[in-house]
């Protein structure tokens, strides 16, 4: 079957017009007979338009789904917990991953935006289980505060999770807590840039 036959009579007629309209070399005329697409019929145009609209809709929904999946995977919405208290000596609370309720969540403490310690939320907190927030007792954590200078400070606790094969993310647990460190001989001896001197726990 020739290309002309397969393309249909309209295309063949069109090709003949093309060939006739080109008065250049025979080579150009040959190219024009076969290479140019034919004009769309009304029905074909409608179908192509519908396909374009459908494709755009599917692609839009696809990108939206990707965005939701990305957020869900990287900013895990299943962490629950509380930073119950924070003062000059300790910060404590509980954390549980509802997607993996038997796992112990690793938590990091940040004071004034600086890393101040890491711990595993595996201490006994019977009240958390009693409140129906966990399946077992062991989801509590306690941090010992590093030496801090006197004044107002802010503590935040983050749950650590692997968001990809090569990436970890920190998800804040509950809200930040503000606390004051009283002026004592010990606290006054601490440098304002205390985090520079603090060793990794």
């Amino acid at each position: 079957m020739s290309d002309e036959t397969r393309a249909g009579p309209a295309a063949a007629a069109h090709s003949r017009e093309d060939a006739a309209s080109l008065t250049g070399s025979p080579r150009l005329a040959i190219a024009a007979t076969a290479e140019r697409p034919r004009r769309l019929r009304a029905r074909a145009r409608r179908r192509l338009t519908h396909l374009l609209i459908s494709k755009s809709l599917v692609e839009t929904l696809f990108v939206a789904a990707l965005a939701v999946l990305y957020v869900q995977h990287n900013f895990k919405p299943t962490f629950r917990g509380s930073l119950d208290a924070a003062d000059a000596r300790v910060a404590y609370g509980w954390a549980v991953d509802e997607a993996a309720p038997d796992a112990r969540v690793e938590v990091h403490l940040y004071v004034d935006g600086h890393f101040a310690g890491r711990a595993r939320a595996d201490q006994t907190r019977a009240d958390v289980r009693a409140a129906g927030r966990a399946r077992d007792d062991r989801h509590g954590f306690t941090f010992t505060m590093p030496p801090l200078p006197p004044g107002a400070h802010e503590a935040r606790v983050y749950a650590l999770h692997a968001s990809a094969a090569d990436r970890f993310a920190l998800q804040q647990v509950d809200k930040a807590l503000r606390f004051d460190v009283p002026a004592t001989p010990e606290s006054q001896a601490v440098r304002p840039d205390w985090w520079e001197a603090a060793s990794q726990p």
């Binding site: 697409p37 692609e59 990108v63 990809a164 990436r167």
Partner: protein, 240 residues
């Protein structure tokens, strides 16, 4: 083909295109081109940004783009021969490609030497590619790219403007756009796009273009250091 012949072809094409394609169809053609380019951008900038476990999701934009292109060919009665997927025009296309390819290879070798002080080392897998794997993969990947770029976008632009410099330049610019933000690859694909688009308008054969694509990719990774090519990564992946 002589230069006056080419100009005659372009002028005749322009006149036919404007006379033949009405406003509604022009809009449809633009939408088709934009839709295929958007699918490629979604694949490069959205899907690949989300990490390795999302790679299967590439099938969605790629599949949609191919579904649209195939449906469009069918609606317009375009045959394999018309697209350049048969043996017709193969040798003619190769003859037309030979000189610009040689010039491009010399330019790349010179750029590698002057810019990076790197000599041309035949077969050195500078971008992490194997010596034999690159030509084979380059041919397959080149065929896919040339089909979309020339078999679809070039042909659709010819419906609007006919054959000529405007169509050639737009095809090359779109090809370069899809290789951002990799600077060396963007520059190389702009030059390659000009060459392939111009040759396709004179001798439409995608096999010859795919062969040329594979060879030029191989020359590129043999002349420009891997650190500059960033492993041929494009889109979001370029940043790591």
């Amino acid at each position: 083909m002589s230069a006056p012949d080419v100009r005659a072809d372009a002028n005749a094409g322009d006149a036919q295109a404007s006379a033949r394609v009405g406003a509604a169809e022009r809009a449809l053609v633009w939408c088709e081109i934009a839709s295929v380019v958007t699918s490629a951008l979604v694949a490069e900038w959205a899907v690949l940004a989300l990490g390795d476990w999302h790679k299967l999701a590439l099938a969605v934009p790629v599949g949609l783009a191919f579904a649209l292109m195939l449906a469009s060919h069918r609606a317009r009665g375009e045959t394999r021969a018309a697209l350049g997927l048969t043996g017709r025009n193969f040798w003619r296309a190769l003859r037309l490609l030979a000189l610009p390819m040689l010039a491009g290879a010399l330019l790349l070798a010179l750029a590698g030497r002057v810019w990076f002080g790197a000599p041309f080392v035949v077969g050195q897998p500078r971008a992490g590619w194997e010596f034999f794997g690159l030509p084979v993969w380059g041919f397959v990947w080149g065929l896919v790219q040339q089909y979309a770029l020339q078999g679809f976008i070039n042909r659709r632009l010819q419906l609007l403007w006919g054959a000529g410099w405007r169509t050639t330049l737009t095809v090359a610019a779109l090809f370069a756009l899809l290789h951002l933000p990799n600077p060396w690859l963007t520059a190389a694909t702009l030059m390659g796009g000009l060459m392939w688009a111009a040759v396709y308008q004179r001798a439409p054969n995608l096999w010859a273009l795919a062969l040329s694509h594979a060879v030029m990719t191989w020359v590129l990774v043999s002349t420009i250091p891997a650190s500059a090519l960033a492993g041929l990564r494009v889109g979001y992946k370029y940043f790591g």
